[in-house]
Subunit: 232 residues, 2 copies
DNA sequence: ATATTTTTTGACTATATGGTCAAGTATTGT
DNA sequence: ACAATACTTGACCATATAGTCAAAAAATAT
């Protein structure tokens, strides 16, 4: 895929007076329009898929949230399924990128600690993505199955081997690596997927910065101690 | 609601030859037919809602899974939403019943240990219910919000106070009770909600009895050690 | 036996929604 | 300036589906 500029660049947020300012480079504008609209639509779609599920998400609602007419959404994404695919792929990419925080060059304590932190931050910053992912898996991973069997399996095996090495070296207590990973995944994602429940039990208030910090600390403390490491 | 007999009794599993066997008591049969069909429909609905989501679940599919014509489903449950409500209420009841396994009369080790065991067993025996619950919360708890603010909040507060007492008595390490509960909920439910992912990472094989046992053991080990208790 | 109530079921309807299209507008290339 | 390309959008259509209904069958009561 060719990329002329970052999707994050959003030059349309400026208001250009006609003919009073120099035109942008051609290639830039050409791509910008597409990628700009696609980004807006993808963001809206992620939210709507998360809150209504695939079947409950209507292209009309996605269009409304994106602030575009429905036909325009279909201009950029042929079908609702294609749009959904793109959303799911983006989430998977984000997650795999975060997975690199599990850096086995560091010791178990640092590696696990940083991985948990990263996952918690992702739960906070990408709650919609997390929910879409959860729903995708719960429905049998119709779209992402190949990736599960490929990249995710490889990553899990690799990290599992490092964990087993640490255990053999006496750097942490013996535990089945798979269950440790599941525990980390589930706990961190819970703060996104069940954010509504947590908010309700928090007196209807969303977590403050301090509460997020405390949550991260609590989760890290239990898990690290749980595998025989000493949290700071 | 009047109940003449348990829903679990299923006398239709026998094949009665016409006029060769004595008829069942009238009151029994009258209710039996209703509750029997309702039970079948509710079970089918739970599965379909879990696998397709509320919007994706069609009454036709629910009827097919239940082995009945669609109109018959609507005879027992006026609307799809009513059927969904009943499914969600049943799940909540099951969960609150399991919540009593968190018996604070026992010490922290036994209480937590049994609660985790019970939740793990529930994840294994009621995976569909768990998924429906997860989706309900992820979509903002449109149906179950009142129960979250009532029963679940009360239960959590109560158990939280007991945990704090244990901590004060030096029976376990200091930890915010809310995060401990979330960690237990998320981890145990993960084995239901993300069962598909776990199965994929398990070489496409569902967990055997031994694997479930090992999973329970691993989860209990990490959590108990994580709060300063010594697992067996 | 007969009346009454409950259950069954195919056929039907109203509506919502994914997707199309063609006509128009804006942008870009020469 | 002009042609070509890319984007926009209201109107439209085919289909799927929640829910209805009436007529019949079965079960139950008297």
């Amino acid at each position: 895929m060719v990329k002329y500029c970052s999707d994050l660049t959003n030059r349309s947020s400026f208001i250009w007076k006609k003919h009073t300012l120099p035109p942008e480079p051609i290639a830039f504008r050409k791509i910008s329009k597409r990628s700009q609209n696609q980004t807006v639509i993808l963001k809206a779609a992620e939210k709507v898929f998360a809150e209504a599920g695939f079947a409950g998400a209507t292209t009309q609602l996605i269009a409304d949230v994106a602030g575009l007419p429905k036909a325009n959404v279909h201009y950029y994404f042929k079908t609702k399924e294609e749009l959904y695919r793109r959303v799911v792929y983006n989430i998977f990419d984000t997650w795999m990128e975060a997975a690199s925080a599990f850096d086995t060059a560091l010791g178990p304590k640092e590696a696990l600690s940083r991985y948990i932190d990263t996952k918690m931050e992702l739960a906070r910053s990408h709650p919609y993505g997390s929910k879409v992912w959860a729903a995708e898996i719960m429905h049998g991973a119709p779209i992402i199955q190949d990736y599960l069997e490929g990249q995710l399996l490889d990553w899990s095996k690799d990290r599992g081997q490092h964990i087993e090495r640490w255990i053999k070296n006496g750097e942490m207590d013996p535990i089945d690596p798979a269950h440790l990973l599941y525990l980390i995944w589930s706990t961190t994602q819970h703060y996104a997927d069940f954010g509504h429940q947590i908010e309700t039990l928090n007196g209807g208030q969303p977590y403050s910065d301090a509460q997020w910090k405390a949550a991260k600390r609590s989760v890290k403390t239990i898990i690290l101690k749980g595998v025989g490491l000493t949290p700071d």
